[in-house]
């Protein structure tokens, strides 16, 4: 079925890239090197920053699990889900990125549960689908975190 792929938020991750090249996109301050995700395009949020330009930067592909949980009940709007279809829980995972020294939240890839994501284990960011509008022929794309079998950070 032909689908128009629309990022759930434009500019937060790469589009039309192969899975290996897929990355979250943040911004990095040229003045203090702080990284911001979700991207900050106005001003650097470091109060001690001498000031600099905010440049788009891909975040690390791999990180380690800071913590995770799941959503056993259907979240309210604006989360998009079909109330006519039984709710399928998904997993949320907070991932620590060593180079950026920050934690980024995301949904785990479909089928990945909390037992697959022990704190400290290695995960990588991959493209995912958040919701689908069959009538309109569109899908909203997002990022997912997926365990790395080998467990290597790079």
């Amino acid at each position: 079925m032909p689908h128009t792929r629309i990022p759930v938020v434009a500019g937060w991750f790469t589009e039309d890239t192969a899975e290996e090249e897929f990355r979250l996109l943040g911004t990095r301050c040229s003045g203090c090197r702080s990284v911001h995700f979700p991207r900050e395009d106005g001003h650097c949020r470091n109060p001690g920053c001498p000031g600099g330009e905010l440049e788009e930067v891909p975040l690390s592909k791999r990180g380690t699990v800071w913590s995770c949980t799941d959503g056993r009940y259907r979240p309210p709007p604006p989360y998009v889900s079909d109330p006519g279809v039984p709710w399928v829980p998904y997993t949320l995972v907070a991932v620590e990125l060593a180079a950026e020294r920050m934690v980024v939240l995301g949904q785990a890839a479909p089928g990945v549960g909390v037992d697959d994501l022990p704190v400290g284990s290695v995960v990588e960011v991959v493209p995912g689908v958040l919701d689908e509008d069959r009538a309109a022929g569109t899908v909203h794309t997002t990022w997912n975190w997926r365990p790395v079998a080998a467990g290597a950070l790079s």
Partner: protein, 396 residues
């Protein structure tokens, strides 16, 4: 140190699901607080309302709404909003007015008629609002964040779901003795374990509900209290309303990402602990001086975190305290003897005010079966969405 303000009166409308408007609850709480203070409404020089937010728009704009319900009398009016910390902001506003000499007597009111189920952001397509985005992009409800913190504690400190359940058991036992609480039945660990998982590892009985309720305080200058013959009133000695410092490295509601610690070394102390620290510093006391504490137990696991953050024990030792019974009524440092959010459910703008109502009754020695013997010093701690710290120290 700042000056003290006196708590002349405290009042609440019981928490529950009563099916009425928030104005009703706020008005009832205000009248109860005025009666308790022995103050006539016309004597009130200023009214501060903690906002009740409906669909992103603050209800009827609380301050004036409550003033109208009580009968317009021309008082100075203020309305404040800081999500869960709204009540503390309202108390702090009242305190500042009193200490600045702008008013002798200030009425603080917060009330809510909460929707059923998960709290959700305001409607519409609001892509510039982080709170809207976390629901749209991740479906990350409040309990999801509580689940993340709980699992992190399990991994870091070896806490267990059984430890979390002990908090519910303790708070339910206290709430059973509180006529203002919504849930007044004791709960067993087995009942917690048998309740449905909401956000693994947390179950329904680990997570606070949303409730209707109203709470109010009548605050005055200490001098005014004396003139009224109240020689030894409960006094508010400190109100902390601090923000985090950059970089905040713990994921917090409604964040999708933390600050980056690339440029600045993060503080070794958490944001939550800095909230209490600011209150202690302002009051000139420390955790060792406390008789009791009311902390924001949005989840059972979060209560354990607060033990550490307000300095009752070291990092990772929270579960030990609850296991030992140190934080139960009769223990070394009772926490949430009101029953906490576990027994009340959250009525957002009223909750931080309700915490101070409990301190007031405890410090007066009038908390009945829930009384902490000889209570002299209490702290409340709470945190509002987006980085609103809130803690109040009251003494007698």
């Amino acid at each position: 140190m700042t000056g003290d303000v006196a708590v002349l009166g405290a009042g609440m409308h019981p928490w529950g699901k009563w099916g009425r408007g928030f104005v009703t609850y706020g008005q009832a709480a205000a009248r109860a607080a005025l009666d308790d203070a022995g103050i006539g409404w016309p004597e009130v020089g200023s009214v501060v309302g903690a906002q009740t937010v409906r669909g992103g728009y603050p209800g009827y704009v609380a301050g004036a709404t409550f003033a109208r319900a009580l009968g317009w009398q021309g008082a100075r009016v203020t309305s404040v909003y800081a999500a869960c910390a709204s009540g503390a902001q309202a108390i702090n506003t009242a305190r500042a007015q009193i200490l600045a000499g702008m008013a002798d007597v200030v009425l603080v009111v917060g009330a809510d008629a909460a929707p059923k189920g998960f709290f959700a952001p305001a409607g519409g397509e609001r892509r510039d609002d982080p709170d809207w985005l976390r629901f749209r992009v991740l479906g990350a409800t409040n309990p999801a964040y509580f689940g993340l913190y709980a699992r992190r504690r399990m991994a870091l400190y070896g806490d267990t779901p059984e430890d979390f359940a002990l908090v519910k058991v303790k708070n339910a036992a206290a709430g059973a003795m509180n006529a203002n609480a919504r849930y007044r039945k004791p709960v067993t660990a087995e009942e917690v374990a048998a309740s449905a998982v909401v956000a693994d590892p947390l179950r329904l009985l680990d997570i606070c509900a949303t409730s209707d309720g109203g709470a109010a305080l009548v605050l005055s200058s200490v001098e005014f209290a004396r003139r009224r013959g109240v020689a030894d009133p409960v006094r508010i000695r400190a109100v902390s309303t601090v923000t985090p410092t950059f970089p905040r490295t713990v994921l917090d509601l409604p964040d999708i990402g933390t600050d980056s610690a690339v440029a600045v070394e993060p503080s070794p102390k958490s944001f939550r602990s800095s909230i209490a620290r600011a209150a202690y510093e302002e009051a000139g006391i420390g955790p060792e001086d406390l008789s009791l504490a009311e902390v924001y137990d949005l989840s059972t696991a979060l209560e354990l975190e607060w033990y550490e953050d307000i300095g009752l024990c070291g990092a990772g030792e929270g579960a030990k305290l609850v296991r030992e019974g140190a934080t139960a009524l009769g223990g070394r440092i009772p926490v949430n003897v009101s029953g906490g959010l576990a027994s009340f459910g959250e009525a957002v703008p009223a909750q931080a005010i309700a915490q101070v109502c409990e301190l007031t009754w405890q410090l007066r020695g009038r908390a009945g079966e829930r009384q902490v013997p000889g209570a002299r010093v209490g702290i409340t701690a709470n945190q509002g969405l987006f980085g609103h710290g809130s803690a109040v120290v009251a003494v007698r």
